[in-house]
Symmetry: C3
Subunit: 278 residues, 3 copies
């Protein structure tokens, strides 16, 4: 039994218009047995950071051979290039604007091709909906077995940006930021297990995480361990420290959101423990 | 032609993050030919009542053999148990917190297994995303044919709660509550055909349904039968009386919502008619 | 390898309730190998114009043989008829209320059958959820190969409405309206390439598009061509002129929304160019 080709969709198109339905139609029109899977269509509009965080969290769980279509594309209609990027297990179709940055950071070897073969496109190509006219058909042909090299020349000067990383601050502290707020109001910081390994252990040293004027000093191993109204830190499933509350949106309790600064200070002993990997 | 295994997803994860996409990836990574079907991902955050009402309305229409993944899980990371529950036609994977209560109420015989075999889990198991690390892989292995008993011991002390039921009130009245407000602003009460059979007939006796300070006295058989601005009662498709308006949100017109009390008073004759089954 | 039947869903049911999950269950219960594809479930409640614009944009990209279920149904429970409409490539199941109007406008020959054979329905048929009890099973049986004529008699008096069309105004101007606002805040007008061909060229003549008290005089070929804060006109992917801004919601910048009047005035020379096709 031949496996059906899996194609995932990640966009900032939302679900209220015809956009996503149209993409699905274009793909199925070319690969009727495709398995279409949404990662999310609620990437914040034009937000490359939100886009790259989202695809980078999800793609690796999909079966080998999956094609991932990622469209957050404020430059649609300009000269920014369409890309096909391939690792050993996964293939990606996206605009060349950095939206694959966190994928590039996780995958050792990727080959990237600029898409220039416009006979794969839907004609005429519109000015504002390249997802329909360029990216979706390219993803479909990839899933049908067309080789990446067929779409255009290999390039190495594709756009990539680094995720904001925490920086050392006064008194041995670490200054990070909130990367995103999730559906439950948890604040996902950019402080990872590499940055502060002690806080990813079951029993943590004393610490203070400052957000605005609030000092958070509790680490919890489960949301429900916390008292009602308590704001605490937890080792999140994305690999970063998260600021959370039990059945309540921490973002609202702290009046903090995406981009907010956080400052982590560990006790002397813990700092020693962490310093090796910082 | 072998049928593809159907797996439904019901969660409170929302659609704006990577959560649901990641679940889909985990499942397809293990069962590439699975047919993934969303029931809803917009269960109100942490709301077990909303979760159980939703899965209980939808599951029975799916084909025999369907695996239903239901994750509303405020206790994630604590000692609350993961469950596999099986009826003759359906299988459910969920945390042991009552979110399957309305399924248990509809299915005569169910076998429930606590999931203890952690070699089915994604390792390392995170503290906050057991849907990804425990529930999704268990659902996938179930769909692949692993027997429920393989996941752990059968138990009978699983958590279940009763839906709030209407209670007799002064003067032969019935006091219920609003279970939920739907997308159209209809108020779904907990008064069923068993509680007030007369109101599920095409022609109803005189009655008053009080919500707050408003008395509703009209029963309609279709939304469009009502005058503009009229608030009325209708026998809803979930099996409960609903309070509705024509092309307008009754919840807003009445300033009433989930949990609001409603008091139903039938005329003498109708009461006699209903009393047999109350 | 037999192709799996494709069934698309377009409704105003939203995603927060069990409605859509239930539809999917009903269809899979009857056609377990169906490929279910959402076009959108966020059609504005009861809004036939939004519904018909959405299905009309998306359906044509789907493979031949696709069944499209379209339910925006304020008249549910009344005598309004359920329909099966078939073109050479596509089939549609919808209430007879005009929600297919833009499809009828695009498809030359369609045969329309009233659905009267109630042995295809789920029994008992509820008063408020015909999508579950009537439309979904009919779509499923169609996908299983039941001929349209089996569902009931052919009719020609089905409901259809015309999309609002721009009208000539004083001084050779064209007066149109905003058909919808999309997820990005773009205002989609009803002025098409036929109405104002000059504005669909890469280089446009001088023009003024008035919305409220604002005069828009710039045409752009890509969002990112515009200065920050600039509001401009662009030839949109739906085939209509759109009013947009670069990474900002034009609707908000202009305080304009669906139904707003727009007045297009072209320079003399351009008008001459356009007049043939108006």
């Amino acid at each position: 039994l031949a496996q059906r080709p899996v194609i995932t969709l990640t966009t900032d198109f939302g679900l209220q218009d015809h956009f996503v339905g149209t993409l699905r139609g274009v793909i199925l029109g070319l690969v009727p047995d495709a398995q279409l899977v949404d990662i999310s269509h609620s990437i914040q509009a034009f937000d490359l950071l939100d886009g790259t965080l989202t695809i980078a969290q999800a793609y690796k769980y999909f079966p080998a051979g999956t094609v991932h279509l990622v469209v957050v594309d404020p430059g649609v209609g300009t000269a920014r290039r369409p890309l096909v990027a391939s690792s050993e297990r996964h293939r990606f179709v996206a605009p060349d604007n950095g939206v694959l940055s966190s994928v590039f950071a996780q995958e050792e070897r990727m080959r990237v091709h600029q898409v220039t073969s416009d006979h794969y496109f839907l004609q005429p190509v519109s000015r504002t909906f390249h997802a329909r006219d360029i990216f979706a058909p390219v993803a479909a042909y990839l899933a049908r077995g067309v080789d990446s090299a067929q779409f255009g020349p290999e390039i190495t000067d594709f756009v990539r940006f680094n995720l904001p990383r925490p920086k050392p601050a006064e008194g041995g502290a670490l200054r990070g930021i909130v990367l995103k707020v999730d559906r439950f109001g948890n604040l996902i910081t950019n402080i990872s297990a590499q940055d502060a390994p002690a806080l990813f252990e079951a029993v943590a040293p004393k610490f203070t995480l400052r957000v605005g004027t609030r000092d958070i000093t509790q680490l919890r191993n489960a949301y429900a361990e916390a008292a009602i109204g308590e704001v605490f830190v937890i080792a999140g499933s994305m690999g970063f420290l998260e600021i959370a509350a039990n059945k309540a949106p921490a973002a609202q309790l702290l009046s903090a959101g995406k981009g907010a600064e956080v400052t982590l200070t560990l006790e002397e002993s813990a700092r020693a423990l962490s310093s090796a990997s910082v």
